[in-house]
Symmetry: C2
Subunit: 289 residues, 2 copies
């Protein structure tokens, strides 16, 4: 299939050009809210900052449904949930509705103006807002599933680890999916993107890591890695894998995404070639048990 | 579904009772050679020992097809390919034919009479026999895919690592799948089963490990782990995962088998609830590219 050849040809390329090219490959396949019969409430404020915004996608109001919240990537300094006309991440909201969930896409504050743990704090604030408000859109506030990609996965992990602030209780979500995440700043690797969010004080890196919290977490977590992810993302998952096995005697739940790159994992959601959606459906449905 | 509840109730139990119970759960679902339209040639000798036997499953002879070879588990001291009336592992041969392959199930010599690296040697001998003979059953000797479970995965890994003896060249197989494998004897863990095959001389353990060879291998390998595998199998995969990331900068290809235990991973092949077969089909078909 043409799209797989083009992804393979791009390989691990991690540039604005490769992001745009990947978006272009998947845009024609993107499921739209209209196709899913989704009603969308856009730019609801879950906090005071202009980036504290979320879109809610829902179908006809019926029995309360699990709520799937997507937290976009963008290297801590960029990215967006997308507007009404953007294919992404309206695809995620549309996919959620088609799958029987309420969908949410959210933005959060960005570095360098908002640094660690702002992302985790914002995920926590959005969860709090959803707990108070999602019922009127048909969502079940007791069954929230977080899905974060790249920096979004970092922020979901930070929230699960309690880095967001107030709560040291069990996070009030039922499950999480972490796509090509960055789980701890790496003192061996000089990375401007990492320093922009986590800072350059390596003495703080151990406390900023989410690896041990993810290993210990009782919240079911699904981790994905893409075949053409940069080695650093494979190494990040290896750290979680080793810690989870050491601490719990078992592997994390994993999904290896053949043929995908760092960006395409979430762009495929809802498309005809979606290899992630079914795993997320299983994860979210398991929260009903 | 009833079967999943029963597997979950058994959990990690690793006893003759749990093996029998797992077989009993899957036997009614087992695909038969007759259902797959497979012709079976049984107990072909690939060597001098009575355990040097393999069964070949094939459909109508046509263009040469990939050959999928199943190497059973049994803790190094037991297990069998099964006879004509056994549901297992006729299911594997039947699944292979239904999937467009030639299927092979093989036995090998057992410990304590045959110790390391006898299993790897036997896998190599079977591969050699297939290279010379499989064409007359419609198989393509240049497209052999090895599938090993538990001790069978150990032996496939040993073959890939060149422990079988003669060849230090690239193994003459196109791909391998390793299900809940045991990749290196563990000096931290006293395990009679391990010692029966690898011996008790811990000084030899590093040379008997297949972890670094698997990490370095250019043969595409798919690793599976079952949710209810014992912690030691999760730890074995963690070692491969870490080594692969360190050596190649990328994760191994992984399939996490939700709801499965150590034994059910291969018993499900060809059944209506088979979550492994499609991944093996992808692996084998990729060898055609």
């Amino acid at each position: 299939m043409e799209i797989w050849q083009q992804l393979r040809a791009m390989g691990e390329e991690f540039t604005p050009t490769s992001i745009q090219a990947t978006h272009k490959l998947f845009a024609p396949l993107a499921l739209t809210p209209a196709q899913a019969g989704a009603v969308v409430q856009r730019n609801l404020a879950y906090g005071a900052d202009p980036r504290h915004r979320l879109d809610v996608f829902h179908g006809p109001l019926a029995a309360p449904r699990p709520v799937v919240v997507f937290v976009h990537g963008g290297g801590f300094v960029g990215g967006d949930k997308g507007g009404a006309d953007a294919p992404f991440y309206n695809n995620v909201g549309a996919w959620a509705v088609r799958s029987g969930f309420v969908g949410v896409t959210m933005t959060y504050r960005l570095a360098p103006s908002a640094v660690w743990p702002a992302g985790a704090t914002d995920v926590g604030a959005a969860v709090g807002w959803l707990q108070a408000n999602i019922a009127r859109f048909g969502g079940d506030a007791t069954r929230i599933v977080l899905v974060g990609q790249s920096a979004g996965a970092t922020h979901v992990a930070g929230y699960l680890a309690g880095h967001g602030g107030t709560s040291d209780a069990r996070p009030e979500v039922m499950a999480a999916a972490l796509l090509s995440g960055f789980y701890e700043p790496d003192a061996f690797h000089v990375d401007p993107m990492q320093e922009t969010y986590f800072g350059s004080d390596r003495g703080r890196y151990p406390a900023q890591s989410t690896v041990l919290a993810l290993a210990a977490s009782t919240v079911p977590c699904l981790f994905t890695i893409s075949e053409f992810d940069l080695p650093l993302f494979h190494a990040q998952l290896a750290a979680v894998f080793a810690a989870r096995v050491a601490m719990r005697g078992r592997s994390p739940q994993l999904l290896y995404l053949h043929g995908h790159n760092h960006f395409s994992s979430s762009l495929q959601l809802g498309s005809a070639i979606d290899s992630l959606g079914p795993a997320l459906v299983s994860l979210a449905q398991a929260t009903q048990g």
